[in-house]
């Protein structure tokens, strides 16, 4: 592809701990985000895409 040679470098062998790490990080961020979206100051923020209140005009 793109004139590059295939190079038999192992991908999964050195990277699998970091794949687990990124999956855990992603799950953690996902949970944190959901909690933060429900928090008191973010719930009615116009930037919150799930805000129940009508968005202010101008945007």
């Amino acid at each position: 592809m793109f004139g590059l040679r295939a190079w038999p470098t192992p991908i999964v062998k050195p990277l699998w701990p970091f794949m687990i790490g990124s999956a855990l990080t992603f799950a953690g961020v996902w949970k944190l985000q959901n909690v933060a979206l429900q928090s008191e100051e973010a719930r009615n923020d116009p930037k919150n895409p799930f805000a129940k209140t009508a968005k202010s005009g101008g945007h």
Partner: protein
């Protein structure tokens, strides 16, 4: 005199090191050096034929003698333009109706 002694002591560090079979191997041409020489002697000599050179933008700005910093500047200019466009539009939106 001084220069040559400095040159000898720093000979290992100063770049023009010419690799002859004698300098590389310890005495005589070993089988390994011979195979290396044989490998390189079989490679095609001279510049690449015109038909095999990459054309297009890559041939024009990146290959051989044409390599230059122009793509670098172009990337910076494009990203500057993109950033300015985004910034301008975001602010225009904010100020359009007189309120946020």
């Amino acid at each position: 005199m001084f220069a040559s002694s400095v040159r000898r002591s720093l000979g290992g560090l100063i770049p023009p090191k010419i690799a002859t079979p004698g300098a590389v191997s310890s005495g005589g041409t070993s089988a390994r050096t011979a195979s290396v020489i044989e490998f390189y002697s079989k490679l095609p000599k001279g510049p690449k034929p015109e038909s095999e050179r990459p054309g297009g933008l890559r041939g024009r700005y990146f290959e051989g003698k044409n390599a230059s910093g122009a793509p670098f500047l172009a990337t910076i200019l494009i990203l500057f333009g993109l950033g300015y466009t985004i910034d301008y539009n975001m602010h225009l939106k904010h100020h359009k109706n007189g309120h946020h």
